[in-house]
């Protein structure tokens, strides 16, 4: 056992640094939208966390933060141009911190230990807020948006997003989420 080695080198450096794919940007922005659906002050929390974590050199203010999120092609108003790697990292860091803050809520949505009626009410509330945000900000002609709003397909897709957020929270969540958003295009 080689216990003489130094403590864990940060694995952060070994996750490739390249721009996110279109699918990666869509997923990242959808998870940020879920955070807003779970927390009515989610938008403000993003700005505050960005400042708190020292991301102001990449995302100096709320307008710039908003513009970066508009790189998502599913949005009603999309912004041309690729999201830079540093900008994507800042958004992933913000999501990681938001997921950490919201972890008790994410957990309660995913848990099967609580009474089914209470869980169903929580999902209903979350889904109604998410639907509202999607209708307000997203392009409803896009298939991916229609599937999220679909009463049949939507619940499973929303659950996937919530599960992904729960696995993105905490100290190892950043690298895991970043690697996932960099998956090869299927």
């Amino acid at each position: 056992m080689d216990d003489a080695s130094p403590p864990h080198a940060s694995p952060r450096a070994t996750v490739p640094s390249r721009p996110l794919s279109r699918r990666g940007i869509e997923r990242l922005d959808l998870m940020l939208l879920c955070a807003e659906a779970l927390d009515l002050n989610g938008g403000e929390a993003m700005v505050w966390l960005s400042e708190e974590m020292g991301c102001t050199d990449v995302l100096p203010n709320r307008v710039e933060l908003w513009k970066r999120r508009c790189s998502n092609p599913l949005r009603r108003t999309t912004r041309r141009g690729q999201l830079q790697s540093a900008e994507a990292d800042a958004l992933i860091r913000i999501l990681n911190a938001l997921a950490d803050r919201l972890y008790p809520m994410l957990r309660s949505l995913l848990s099967s230990a609580e009474p089914a009626e209470i869980t169903a009410q929580r999902w209903q509330l979350f889904r109604s807020r998410l639907d509202e945000l999607l209708r307000e900000r997203f392009n409803l002609r896009r298939g991916a948006v229609q599937r999220l709003l679909d009463p049949q397909e939507g619940p499973a897709l929303s659950r996937d997003l919530i599960q992904a957020m729960a696995l993105s929270a905490g100290p190892g969540g950043f690298e895991r989420l970043k690697a996932s958003l960099l998956d090869a295009a299927s």
Binding site: T14, V15, A113, S186
Partner: protein, 199 residues
């Protein structure tokens, strides 16, 4: 001097016990040698193990969580490994195999929340600066194309390129049906023909 570190989430508690490795130059409050660990998952027996079991737990659960995050759940942990995890209908099954002969494996059913708790505890452990034990765990990597199964059904994946090729063929066919445009006579040839007619 015995050291102990504790990592807790709602349904999961992981306690690591060990000693500082003073021969490696670690400080007295850095855990460098693991003597054992206990893992308590909500409502179930407390599990105990050694460093190898903890390594097997990390080897199975961390890549499982990584694949699950990409929506690609699959089993991890070979038949010879001490820990295996696989997706089930209602959640996830963690199988712990004892090194003692004639001891049946312990199978635990975890829901999504319990799995997330376990992953968070293991993350806290492997990134804890107070623990200087090098766990052999590759960093999370993006999944390659062949690892991404069933993200989109085949028909859906092929629909866009097939529609494009179809549209191209139809437009090519329509264009080929158009009568050829009569060509205007070249301006250079007209004056040359005119004197011949005059003769």
């Amino acid at each position: 001097m015995k050291l102990s570190t504790r990592y807790e989430q709602t349904s999961c508690r992981l306690v690591l016990e060990g000693l500082p490795d003073l021969s490696a130059g670690h400080s007295a409050d850095t855990l460098g040698i693991i003597t054992g660990f206990t893992l308590a998952l909500a409502g179930r027996t407390e599990l105990e193990g050694k460093r190898d079991h903890l390594q097997a737990l990390l080897n199975a659960v961390m890549p499982y969580a990584r694949h699950l995050l990409s929506g690609q759940p699959r089993a991890f942990g070979a038949a010879s490994d001490a820990v295996a995890v696989e997706p089930t209908a209602g959640g996830h099954q963690l199988e712990l195999r004892s090194s003692q002969p004639d001891t049946p494996p312990l199978r635990l059913q975890l829901d999504d929340a319990e799995l997330a708790d376990l992953v968070r505890c293991l993350d806290q452990l492997r990134l804890d600066a107070r623990v200087a034990v090098p766990f052999e765990l590759p960093p999370p990597q993006p999944l390659r194309r062949r690892e991404l199964r069933r993200r989109q059904p085949l028909a859906q994946r092929l629909s866009a390129p097939l529609a494009g090729v179809g549209a191209l063929l139809i437009s090519a066919l329509l264009v080929s049906l158009l009568p050829p445009t009569p060509r205007a006579p070249l301006p250079g040839k007209t004056p040359a023909a005119a004197p011949a007619q005059l003769r």
